[in-house]
């Protein structure tokens, strides 16, 4: 009988370490919402997450909030990272949150925002349920570490 050779066993990020040996890979959706076309940051973070062993779904540019919600719900992601550089975060992010709530998906999705967000707005977004805001210059390791530590325990 041929069977798994040990070098090929899947390397799984074991965040839940459940006793029954279930495999757990962190899934992330990196989304660009609205009209801004600057996706360099989204690409960099998608690559970094991939290299950290996460599964990353990238939305592509110019997504509407409902598209992001559809993707986050269907893909059952642990992490939703929204990249916004247009300044429209105060309108777009609440729409995403409402949509996630509609599908009962808000509570166990770690919602992160990347981009240029004024301090006042940051506080407001966090009140709405955004877990963290990462501004320009945030080291990639910091974001990855934050995800590892804060991925919600799931049902």
């Amino acid at each position: 009988m041929t069977y798994a050779n040990h070098d090929c066993t899947p390397r799984v990020v074991d965040v839940s370490a459940d006793a029954e040996g279930g495999q757990r890979t962190i899934r992330c959706l990196i989304a660009k919402v609205g009209l801004d076309g600057h996706d360099r940051g989204a690409h960099v973070i998608a690559r970094a997450f991939r290299d950290a062993g996460f599964e990353v779904i990238y939305s592509g540019l110019h997504r509407a909030p409902e598209e992001v919600v559809q993707a986050a719900v269907q893909e059952d992601v642990d992490v939703l990272g929204i990249s916004i550089l247009s300044g429209a975060h105060n309108t777009l992010v609440p729409k995403v949150i409402d949509g996630l709530e509609e599908y009962d998906a808000f509570d166990d999705t770690l919602l992160l925002i990347g981009g240029v967000i004024p301090d006042d707005d940051e506080a407001e977004l966090k009140d709405l349920g955004v877990a963290e805001v990462f501004g320009p210059g945030t080291p990639l390791e910091e974001t990855i570490e934050f995800v590892r530590e804060n991925v919600p325990e799931r049902r």
């Binding site: 009988m1 069977y3 798994a4 040990h6 090929c8 066993t9 899947p10 390397r11 799984v12 990020v13 459940d18 029954e20 279930g22 495999q23 757990r24 890979t25 899934r27 998608a46 690559r47 997450f49 991939r50 290299d51 950290a52 062993g53 996460f54 599964e55 990353v56 779904i57 990238y58 939305s59 592509g60 509407a64 409902e66 598209e67 559809q70 993707a71 719900v73 269907q74 893909e75 059952d76 599908y103 009962d104 998906a105 049902r155």
Partner: protein, 348 residues
């Protein structure tokens, strides 16, 4: 025995909760505790969906075609499930799953349920996980389920062959691609789609494919006719002379939505052939036979891994072979003999 915690999830899924469907697929992918009960329970609700497998080389236009197909199905009022399989990195296990980007025609339409799955470097596990995810979509009530993979290796071929109808996308212009197909994808294709048919070389690719198909059914020559750059039509006879299925060849330009109806009618013809000829039932039985075998191999494999550990682990055993203290056959005999003894005791 049903573990209590998956029952609410199953109820929600059968009641049409998208969230529950998504979570069920996650459990299947992660092989969470309870996933076996979950799939086992879903089984009785499956069997109504038409499953289409789509494969082809990177850049052949699979995702765009899937998007357009989903759009047409929705226009007819049918619900659609899509599973897009992407390879994962063998080094980190990470993956960027990009098929979703092309699903632009079905924005915000929850009745197109698109799910990305990565290969996760598992051996044979991918086809099991995909087949189980298809069961979840089927039980949920999806009319059409499309499984999309890069046709790169055995794993991916195993995935699409679980479908009722398999379409292989061939980009035009490269004779090498057609050569590559001979090595294994040809046998599984029910429909060849020459996508990007507006590009140079489409005629030749169609010609080469039709020659290959004819060769495959015994060398009957066929006049493929002339195909201008904008000609979108199909060749092939559908039902072969012996009552079998001759793979159809269809041209499309998925980005412009051209030829999509031809692709759909080729799928419909194949579906009709499956039903009329009784091949649908044969295929289903074959599929279940393979599922049983795969599950058996996995479970027995896990059992053997435990036995390996109980015998000191593979590293130590390998070292003792390297030092010529023993040999692989003796090691395996030592591990398997007690198992064989147990099994034959129990069988009597």
């Amino acid at each position: 025995m049903m573990s209590a915690d998956v029952q609410p999830l199953i109820d929600d899924l059968l009641n049409g909760s998208h969230r529950a469907l998504a979570r069920a697929i996650t459990k299947i992918e992660n092989r969470d505790p309870g996933y076996r009960d979950l799939v086992a329970t879903l089984y009785e609700h499956t069997g109504t969906a038409d499953v289409i497998g789509i494969t082809g080389s990177p850049g052949s236009g699979k995702s765009t075609l899937v998007d357009k197909l989903a759009e047409r199905y929705r226009e007819r009022g049918e619900t659609v499930g899509v599973i897009g399989v992407d390879p994962s990195s063998p080094f980190t296990g990470g993956a960027v799953l990009g098929d979703r980007i092309r699903m632009a025609s079905n924005v915000g339409d929850m009745d197109v349920f698109f799910r990305s799955m990565s290969a996760r470097g598992s051996l044979g596990g991918l086809s099991t996980a995909t087949a189980d995810a298809v069961k979840a979509l089927d039980a949920f009530g999806k009319d059409r389920i499309i499984v999309e993979t890069v046709g790169a290796g055995q794993n991916e071929i195993d995935v699409v062959r679980t479908a009722d109808t398999v379409a292989v996308l061939v980009p035009p212009g490269s004779g090498d691609d057609v050569q590559m197909l001979k090595a294994g994808i040809l046998e599984i294709a029910d429909v060849f789609v020459v996508n990007k048919a507006d590009q140079d070389g489409a005629d030749r690719t169609v010609q080469e494919l039709s020659e290959m198909v004819e060769l495959g059914r015994g060398g009957v020559s066929v006049d493929a006719g002339h195909h201008g750059p904008d000609a979108v039509d199909d060749i092939g006879h559908g039902h072969g002379d012996d009552g079998g299925w001759t793979p159809r060849i269809v041209e499309s330009v998925a980005t412009r939505g051209e030829g999509i109806e031809d692709v759909l009618s080729a799928f419909a013809d194949h579906r009709a052939y499956l039903d009329e000829s009784g091949r649908a039932a044969d295929r289903a039985r074959q599929r279940y036979a393979e599922e049983i075998r795969t599950l058996l191999r996995q479970d027995v494999g896990e059992l053997l891994e435990e036995e390996l550990d109980a015998h000191g682990g593979i590293d130590d055993l390998a070292r003792s072979v390297a030092e010529r203290e023993t040999n692989p056959y003796a090691v395996v005999d030592r591990i398997v003999e007690p198992i064989e003894a147990c099994v034959s005791d129990r069988r009597d």
